[in-house]
Each structure stands twice: as structure tokens, then as C-alpha cells.
Amino acid sequence: MSNFFYVAPEQLIKDRAEFAQKGIARGRSIVAAIYDVGVVLVAENPSASLYKISEIYDRLAFAGVGRYNEFDRLREAGIRWADGTGYTYSREDVDGRALANYYAQHLGDMFTEGQKPLEVEILVAQLGNQFRPTKLYRIAYEGTISDEEHFAVLGGDAETIKERFATLEVGHLALSQTLKNAVSALAGPDRQIPVSDLEVGVLEDRGDRRTFARLDDDEIGRLLA
């Protein structure tokens, strides 16, 4: 004889959301911001090899917080999607908004139908050109998607960091100033983040087709000085 328990849909969604939020809150946060000529992604990441920020395509970058294995699979899927689309059609046809929508659908599906929701929050950054705008697409664990014109914060402590960053970052500044603001917003008033614990990626036009670059400790140190 089996017992059936009725669980109200509201309760189910609430439980799942709480579960996902708890997982995401455990990790460190990421700040992504559009500066005067590009996009910078800043993560607090003590690991020098397990990246949270990476290149997706010529003008697209990815950032993820939460469970590493889960967002890394999404990162790989994003690269495959972008390379596959560019191969089938043209490099120009690879669009950040389309990728963000696919991510949102997948996260939404996992939230409602999956064994458990994914404990991740991800971001697709697009460096604009004459055809497309510079945009930050933030996708939450339940599939909510938002496009930001200026900056976005991912992770458990997002609200506090967002407030701190908003007071510092007025308008689109130069890379070094934006990076300083992002690091100080991530750190808060009571502590300093050592350069070796920072992971920084930028999208900027340097005359090459590929615009993503990972900054090493020396470069980060120089920009923060």
C-alpha cells in the first residue's frame, strides 16, 4: 500500500527556489560591467585553473557562479552552440541574445521538470558592433533572463555588491577605474582581495577577430595600481 502526499505547486516552487539559492549563495560573486570601450568580467576565484569566466565566441564571453560542474557544462554547450552556428551559417550570425534565450529555456526546464534545479547563475556578455548592442544577459537558476545596459552582479551576495558598485560606477569609465570599482565592490569595506585571487576577463576590440582576453596577475596589478 502506498501513500500519496499532495504538495501544493506554490510550495514545490518555493522549496526548489530555496534549494537553488542556497547552493548559489555558497560561492563567491562575479561583477560584470560595460566600460568605455569594452566589457570586463571580474570574479573572486582562488583557483588559478578552474575558471568561472571564459570565451564563448568572437564577441561573446561567459561567466558562471554556483556549482562548478553545472555551469561548466553550460559553458561547453555555449561554445558548441556558437561554433556550430557559425560553422553552419556565418560568424556574424552568432548572437548573444539567442544563446542567452537557450540558456534561459534550459534552466527553466531544469527548474520545473528536472530532478533538481541547477544551482547556478550565469551571464552571457556581448561586445557590440555595428549590428548588435553591447549587452550583459544575466540568467538566473529558474530561467529568468534580464539584459543589463551597464553592469550585473552574480552570486549569493549580489544585492549588497550591486549597491556598492552602483555608488562607485557612474557612467561608462575606463577599464582601470571600472576594475578598481568592481574589486572594491566585491571586497566590501572590511577586507582586501589579493590580486592572485582575482580572475578577470575582458572583451575589447584590438583589431583581431577574437576579442576575449584573460588578464594575468601582472596586468591586473598594473590596472589596479
Binding site: 570565451e55 558548441r80 552552440w81 561554433d83 556550430g84 560553422y87
Partner: protein
Amino acid sequence: MGLPLFDAQSDPGPSFLRYAELAGLTRVPDTTDLSAHATTVVAVRFNDGVVMVGDRQATSYYVANRDVRKIEAADRYTALAISGSAARGLEFIRLAQLSFEHYEKMSDAALSLEGKANYLSPLIQRNNLSSQLVVLPLLAGWDTAHQRGRIFEYDGAGGCYERQDFSVIGSGSPFAESTLRLGFRPDLGRQEALELASLAIYEAADNDPSTGGPDFVRNIYPMMVTLTVEGFRELDQETAKTTFQTINDRRTQSGGVAGGTLR
């Protein structure tokens, strides 16, 4: 196309080719039509890298195209040249370029030069054994790990062989090869290597109707590329014009014969 997610067992890893096959992105060639083809491209090692020179003509029954690019940068440090079917060759370059970049993004590390050379073998094998549109590439690059220029050539079944001196592909090969055999020394400088490689293309174009020589009427000259510690560099058409003009002037003065010397 939806998000290409895979479970751990069927995950294609960082290989774009395996992914493309799973996703049905690669097209299987099934035509046996004659299509534009033929080439001569040479690669010559010199003391600081590799030079490559390639003609620009695509030929079917007649000249199909006079300004084809048969040498392309596969990535920052690698050049890929093609001979054989133009259609399959250009597709081959596209797939190779994408594969190297895909690997780099997926695993956050660039493939080694040898890794790139080996990756092409099954691609060539599969193409050439399943289709009459045969492709034979030539890979040359600057090996950043071992700090030297390297050349890899292939046979029709996909066999990959490293060459220490020079390599030639395409229909004008016999003439280009002979020129290189007589002129090659292991201690060539950059300029000498460029001149020798250009002379080899000149000879090939002179004797092989499917290889295009310098076109002084349309201002189209063979492509000249260097691969050094600075990576892939394509020389401008002005430089190519000067180089080929010099050879052409010498040959005009001698009445069309090399006269027993490399000139």
C-alpha cells in the same frame, strides 16, 4: 539549433569534429562531378621558421578563378594550404580553423603543433576514401613549445609525415620540387627562402597549365607567407610583385631559359 547538452557518457569532449558528427553538422560528400582544382604550394624551412608560397589559380576545364587563397592561417601560429578539389579544400580549411579554436576555448589551452597535424589525418582519410574529390593539405607552423618552424605533409590516405627541409603539393609539384631540391640548403635565411620558394612557384607555373604564375596584367601575384616566432604573416602583394618581377626580368634577359643555374 537548441543547446547542445550531452550526458557524461555521450559527451564529445573538446573535439569539434566529434561534436559536429553527433550534431549532424558535417556533410558527407556524394558528388563525383569534376570541380575546380589544381594548385602548387611550397613550404620551405629556414633558420627562423618556415616560408610558404602558393599560386592563386583554380582550374576546371578552363581557368575558374584567378585569385583564390590557397594558404590560410589555421590559427595564430599555423598555416594550412590545400591542393585538390577546391570545394572540399576550402571546407577543409574552415573545419580545421574552427577545430583548433574550438579545442582552445573548450579546454583553455591551445593544441600543440603536432596535435594539430595529427588531428588532420583522419579528416583527410575520411574525405579521400569516401569521395573522388580528393584533398591534400600542407600544414606548416611555428612550434611555440619547441621554438622552431615545422612542416607536415600528408599522403592521400591521411598519413602524416614531418619534413625537415621543404614540401610541395599540387599539380605543379614535379617542377617546384626539382627547383627546391637544387636550391635548398639547411641554413637558408628568410629572404633566400622566400626567393627560392617563389622561383619554385615560377617554374611550376611555367610548365604546369593548372598553376597560375604572376599575373602582371591583373596585378595578381602568388601568396607569400612566413611563419616565425611572430606567428603567421602574409606579405603584401607589392612584395610579391617585386619578387616575381625580378625573376621574370632575369628570365626575359636569358631568353626563357634558366641557363643551368637557379635564376
